[in-house]
């Protein structure tokens, strides 16, 4: 999927442009074999007989778009939940006495770095990172072996324990969400519906060729706009709408720069 390396505007131009070119070629090809008057004979029977086609296409496009958006939003939501948990741990970790404070913050930084780096790249291939897995285990071990020197440390540990367990759940939820890609049959169904609907418009007669081309172009652009939306939403970790790992980078910055500067 070469288009995944393009920017948002380039992807838009390529997808919509390809559709417009396809429509233009098809319209002109049909015009070579059938005149407008000949095609116009079929408008009434064709429109009445096959009028169901467009609502079906409408249903398919809206359904696939909704599924793509739900999936994308689910991934973003899981990431937001995990970063919230990490912020909770970060804020409480900074309150421990030494040496627990330094050890816990270092382990937390290790996990955040692993997720924002190797695991982010692995999620683009629907996978996970062993480095992040080990970093999480190291974080859990660090909390488990923490040297609690004051009752304040004990109080903080009672706060942090459930949060660490929640972090594990959040990570599993995030990885699960990344494995749910928009199924190939849905994308094929969308593509087929759009191609058939565009091609169907070629066999209708219009008063003039320029009118047919102009309206056909707009119609195709509209359908391809939906295809564009689905295409970019279907890949939350690749392409022009890839979810950024900024939140993890910000948390890592705040752990390593506790003075309060902005990244």
């Amino acid at each position: 999927m070469l288009w995944l390396n393009l920017s948002l505007w380039q992807t838009f131009a390529v997808i919509v442009g390809a559709g417009v070119v396809f429509n233009g070629i098809g319209t002109l090809l049909v015009a070579l074999f059938k005149s407008n008057a000949q095609l116009a004979h079929g408008n009434d029977p064709g429109g009445n007989k096959f009028g169901f086609l467009e609502p079906i296409t409408g249903l398919v496009t809206v359904f696939v778009l909704t599924m793509a958006w739900i999936q994308y939003n689910d991934v973003v939501g899981r990431i937001q939940r995990e970063t919230t948990t990490l912020v909770l741990l970060k804020e409480s970790a900074g309150q421990f006495t030494e040496p627990t404070r330094s050890r816990v913050l270092a382990a937390l930084a290790g996990y955040v770095e692993a997720v924002g780096g190797p695991e982010w790249r692995a999620m683009a291939a629907n996978g996970h990172s062993e480095v992040a897995e080990q970093a999480l285990e190291a974080l859990v071990r660090t909390y488990g072996a923490a040297d609690l020197r004051t009752s304040r440390d004990e109080s903080l540990m009672r706060f942090s324990g459930p949060v660490v367990r929640r972090l594990n759940d959040d990570r599993q939820g995030r990885l699960l969400a990344t494995t749910f890609e928009l199924r190939q049959p849905l994308l094929v169904m969308l593509g087929a519906a759009v191609v058939v609907t565009i091609a169907f418009s070629w066999v209708f007669g219009y008063p003039t060729m320029r009118g047919k081309l102009a309206m056909g172009t707009l119609f195709t652009s509209g359908l391809m706009l939906i295809v564009f939306m689905v295409s970019v939403l279907a890949h939350p970790f690749r392409g022009p709408l890839a979810v950024p790992n900024d939140a993890y980078a910000d948390i890592l910055w705040e752990i390593t720069h506790p003075e309060g500067e902005s990244p």
Binding site: V62, W69, T83, S155, F204, Y206, T208
Partner: protein
């Protein structure tokens, strides 16, 4: 430099044309979005009438209307979808502010069971945090940023809370309740700051929405009647309804900027 150049420089310098527009009065935003859009639609109708004959326009209407009308239904669905998302984001922003305030108030009540010294220090730290959020962080949230001053004040406030050493069962139960309030406040603050969509997603939504509006408007240029006035009137009616929806999406997509911005009143009340 001409006035137009100065205005364009001012718009670009305020974080882009989009950021400039959201900080204008609602009337100006309405004029730019709806007015500008209507100029585009009516201009296109007049231009199309220069090149296409009334017979052609009427024939296009007969064929094109039943052929392409389903596209209008798809677009209505997509537009409704975008409006619901924008409304949801605005409602979430309000909910996060409300949850954070409730978390802070609960924490304040929990601290009232601690020694006087802790109460005084916490009260001062809470006021400092609330004041910094209302005065420094709120304007920054309009551009999707947070304030390092508020971040540091928040950390200091938590530091005061966690400095309390529970000595008996009663203290530990106070701390257990306090921990819930801390989690509530930290989560709500993080969600409040992360509620803005990423720049890429915002560009994607606006590109899709504007593409949808432009295509719908341009379609209208090829359908006509014998009377130009009727065609212009219908174009204005269609354009006004769609562009009003775009205007509403624009306002809802920016919960912390403009005339419809969520006010920092709860934080000002906390700050006293």
């Amino acid at each position: 430099m001409s006035q137009v150049e100065a205005l364009l420089r001012d718009m670009a310098g305020s974080g882009g044309y989009f950021q400039w527009l959201i900080h204008q009065p609602m009337g100006v935003i309405l004029l730019v979005i709806v007015g500008g859009g209507l100029v585009f639609i009516v201009g296109g109708v007049l231009l199309a009438n220069n090149y296409l004959t009334p017979e052609e326009l009427i024939s296009n209407t007969l064929v094109g209307t039943f052929k392409f009308m389903f596209l209008a239904q798809i677009f209505t669905g997509v537009l409704a979808f975008i409006m619901v998302e924008a409304g949801n984001r605005y409602a979430n922003a309000e909910a996060y502010v409300d949850t954070e305030i409730r978390g802070l108030r609960l924490l304040s009540r929990v601290v009232s069971h601690m020694p006087l010294e802790n109460q005084t220090r916490f009260g001062d730290a809470l006021k400092e945090y609330a004041k910094s959020v209302a005065e420094t962080e709120w304007p920054m949230m309009a551009s999707g940023d947070d304030s390092p001053i508020s971040r540091a004040a928040f950390r200091r406030m938590l530091g005061v809370y966690f400095s309390f050493n529970p000595v008996d069962v009663s203290d530990r139960s106070v701390v257990a309740m306090g921990n819930l309030a801390v989690a509530m406040a930290v989560e709500a603050r993080t969600n409040r700051l992360n509620n803005n969509v990423s720049r890429e997603l915002s560009n994607f939504i606006w590109l899709s929405l504007l593409g949808l509006v432009v295509i719908t408007a341009m379609f209208n240029w090829f359908f006509g009647t014998r009377g130009l006035r009727s065609q212009v009137a219908m174009g204005i009616a269609l354009g006004s309804s769609i562009l009003t929806c775009v205007f509403i999406v624009f306002l809802l997509a920016n919960p912390f900027a403009g005339d419809t911005a969520i006010p920092p009143t709860p934080f000002l009340e906390l700050a006293g």
